[in-house]
């Protein structure tokens, strides 16, 4: 799938989560996302960036603008080298939490995206990929 633009950001502090939101918003606007779709992908990005920081101990996000035929989309890849998620099925459940925060992060981000993939290895880290098409 052709990637039009790609960029990477660090997620190491709470302020970086705000930076991710703003970068994703800007890219969604460039791609011509309507306001509701912008808000959905920005909110999903905020949830996943916070997870990367809190559970993964920090990491990165890659922001890619996609073109597939006539349609355009935004792909976000969050990666950390944290402890990993032992039970992904459990972690995807609404309300699941390990850090005392209401656990809507993963399940909520999935609901706000058109495509969602998670790859996590205990002791190695976690990668979460979402795509939202215009």
């Amino acid at each position: 799938m052709p990637v039009l633009v790609s960029g990477q950001r660090q997620i190491q502090a709470p302020e970086d989560v705000v930076g991710v939101r703003q970068a994703v918003r800007q890219r969604a606007v460039e791609l011509g996302f309507n306001l509701v779709d912008q808000t959905k992908i920005v909110t999903a990005a905020s949830e996943l960036a916070r997870n990367t920081l809190q559970y993964g101990g920090g990491g990165t996000v890659r922001i890619e603008s996609l073109q597939e035929g006539m349609r355009r989309g935004l792909r976000l890849v969050f990666e950390d080298r944290g402890p990993g998620i032992p039970n992904i099925e459990l972690a995807m459940k609404d309300g699941y939490t390990t850090a005392g925060v209401l656990g809507l992060g993963l399940s909520g981000a999935k609901r706000l995206s058109n495509e969602f993939a998670i790859d996590s290895r205990v002791g190695e880290g976690t990668r979460v990929t979402i795509v939202r098409w215009r």
Partner: protein, 128 residues
């Protein structure tokens, strides 16, 4: 550290969130507001979020916690000005803000606060 300003007007506290809050800033607002409700003997809190371009689960939880804490401190909280795109996204995210009273704008929010506080003054507000 930067702070969200809290304005006092009579028995009300007014907050207008004009910046994209990181989590620590949202927590600081929660702490400042609860302290201020007590020190100002506030009966009502109005939080304007019309400038917020998104509310995620963390900010949503903070709004819910502020509403719950103010209730325990004998004050009412109303959140006003949520953008339609934010409301759509919140519900899809799975957050209904069930414990938070909302109004479309500041005028309606103030009217709602007054009614709630008057009703409590008459002793017929009931629980919650």
């Amino acid at each position: 550290m930067e702070r969200i300003p809290i304005l006092k007007m009579g028995e009300y506290l007014l907050v207008s969130i004009q910046v994209d809050m990181h989590d620590r800033l949202a927590m600081a607002l929660q702490d400042d507001l609860t302290a201020r409700i007590v020190s100002a003997h506030a009966k009502g809190v109005l939080i304007d979020i019309s400038a917020l371009e998104m509310v995620d689960s963390f900010i949503g939880r903070v709004l819910g916690d502020i509403a719950a804490m103010s209730r325990v401190l004998d004050a009412e909280t109303v959140v006003v000005g949520m953008r339609p795109a934010v409301a759509i996204t919140l519900v899809e995210l799975g957050l209904s803000l069930s414990g938070v009273r909302t109004a479309l704008d500041i005028e309606r929010g103030m009217a709602l606060l007054r009614r709630r506080i008057d009703a409590r003054g008459n002793g017929d507000a009931g629980p919650g």
